[in-house]
């Protein structure tokens, strides 16, 4: 990772300002502030640390919080993977990756999560388990799980401080009464290390268990809402639930209760996405495109793949 003294910020003397941006685009003071906020976030697991989010050259809401985190912690020896919706080649992932590579000379790119030292993602956590030495950065649109219960940020801050999540639990209970099901499909709140409840960003419920005792730190950046928070490595992350109604992930089962599999690679343990084929059929395929490709590659080898 980078050291604090990098990136000079000499401005030119002439009328036309200097065109060159420093390593990592942001000026050194901005990066220092973000790194300090990350340290605070790691010390207070799940606590939303406010920071003076900078404007990035892509839209607020397109991952500027995650991007500021990536640019602040990345160094020239890092190996980067960027995904959006599980795909390395989604337009936004392509855009963010190209920008990081352009402003951070030396950084290498990969689609293989096991080779990446830094993974930035939107809406998914890779199927391959995170390892020590890696950092996962998630882009966050609405950082506070209490937002739709209490619109005032000041009030919410008090509720978090007092670990007062009673109204959130009431909301989940009302859901159960109305629909016999907690209808939060993504951004499902989780209690971190026994105190703060965070929004895991709009990852599906399927990915939520990956937060619990993750080997890699998971950093969350909300650029527009100007918050950074974190789940440190090997930290407890418990989805909110009731003792008699356990938390459930997306099941992907057919009418007879059998687990559906990816129609490309055959995996039976991944998050699946519906896909319309050219002839109008609906098929289910892995949302994690790199994982799906690797499965098919292994299967094509003489020794047989993991799903052979």
């Amino acid at each position: 990772m980078a050291d604090i003294t990098d990136s000079s910020n000499e401005s030119s003397a002439g009328q036309v300002p200097d065109q060159a941006a420093p390593f990592g685009f942001l000026d050194a003071y901005a990066k220092r502030e973000i790194r300090r906020s990350v340290l605070k976030a790691l010390c207070l697991p799940g606590y939303q640390v406010p920071y003076a989010s900078r404007e990035m050259p892509m839209g607020r809401g397109f991952g500027t919080g995650g991007l500021q985190l990536s640019l602040s912690v990345i160094g020239p020896n890092d190996v980067l993977k960027v995904i959006d919706q599980g795909s390395d080649d989604s337009v936004n992932a392509v855009n963010l990756r190209a920008f990081i590579l352009r402003t951070c000379p030396g950084v290498k790119e990969t689609t293989d999560p096991s080779r990446a030292s830094l993974i930035q993602s939107r809406h998914r956590i890779p199927e391959t388990a995170l390892q020590e030495g890696q950092v996962l950065i998630l882009q966050v649109p609405i950082p506070d799980p209490l937002t739709f219960i209490e619109p005032s940020e000041r009030q919410r801050k008090i509720m978090h401080g007092e670990a007062d999540y009673s109204r959130l639990l009431v909301k989940l209970y009302e859901d159960l009464r109305a629909f016999e099901e907690i209808t939060l499909s993504h951004s499902y709140p989780a209690e971190i290390d026994g105190h703060y409840v965070l929004s895991p960003s709009p990852i599906p419920r399927f990915d939520l268990p990956k937060l619990n005792h993750s080997a890699a730190p998971i950093l969350f950046g909300a650029g527009r809402e100007k918050k950074i928070y974190a789940v440190p490595p090997y930290t407890q992350a418990v989805p909110l639930s009731f003792s008699d109604v356990p938390f459930q992930v997306e099941q992907f089962r057919d009418s007879r209760g059998r687990r559906l599999s990816c129609q490309r690679c055959g995996a039976e343990d991944t998050f699946l996405e519906e896909c319309q084929t050219g002839d109008g059929r609906r098929i289910l395929i892995c949302s994690d495109t790199d994982y799906c490709w690797r499965n098919r590659w292994y299967a094509s080898q003489p020794v047989g793949g993991i799903h052979a």
Partner: protein, 365 residues
Amino acid sequence: MAYVAIKGGAKAIQESSRLLEYLRTQQGVHSRSIELDDIACQLRNLHSRILSESGLYHDDLASLALKQSLGDPLEASFTLRAYRSTRPRNVESDPQDTRQMRLTRRISAAFKDIPGGQMLGATPDYALRLLRFELVNEPSESFQASAREWLTDLPDEAEPITFPKIVEILRHRGLLPQIDSDPEPAYDITREPLIFPLPRSARLQAMARGETGGMLALAYSNMRGYGDLHPTVAELRVGYLPVSLPHPISGQPVEIGEVLMTECEMVTKFEASDQGRPQFTIGYGACFGHNETKAIAMAVLDRCLQKGMGHGPDHPAEDPEYVLLHIDGIDSMGFCNHFKMPHYVTFQAEMDTLQKTRGDSGSNG
């Protein structure tokens, strides 16, 4: 590079940007690229919006941002803000005194006769908004002659360029509260996170960079009934404010240039003061560039927020979080547009939950 299931993102982005560049240049041989000066002068009011909403005062860069964004003020301000993120904040200026403004326009709606006199300056306020068809094919000769004639008609004796402030008259008569002689150092929202409750300097800074339309809508809601301010424009000024910075060695203030700005002081309904006798209250608005709508809306909102901070908000425009977290054009347009991005995973999860609550069997049923 590995093969991935959904291909083509990078290529699509590249082609899209080529198409956009074609739209910018499609007049082809029949025209020329618009000059930065043309934008700063002939699209002066649009240019002014960029200066204030980007929060970066640079004439050429504001023009460049407008040029490359095809005249979209939200995009242009956004591009400048992103540029600013690459620059460190090297110096912090002392508060600048707007009494020193070199004025081009100053009016008061509170008093007919004011010290120094009303100075209408350049305004379309009293013009008939009729289309000037003679500008459809405007010959360069008459265009160039027009400015020359105006300059030759100037009177010999120079007008005074600075004027006393109207609110000081009211303050002197005890009708307005005195200025805090030892104010808190100014907050900088570009370097400090917004943590509510915010001091007034942070609220004013957030509004000085706010998006004109958003601020107008909120201020207008207050003016037409969601609030009760009785506002009067004590003074509206447009002009050039000399900017001083501390000298790097001596620390003495040195004038480094001037910025075009608009300032509005709004006198609003009276309240009981600390001394017991009621006094008028004041709302303050100021922004880079010439943008009177924004300065007036800001003055109204400043007063609304003072009320909300003091007595609790009764209306949305009096709620600091409601106002200050929703007026930034870069934040709001960014989030609005992000809904165009793929949401396959969250939508899949929504469908899964809906099917479960409907009692439909099977994810693929």
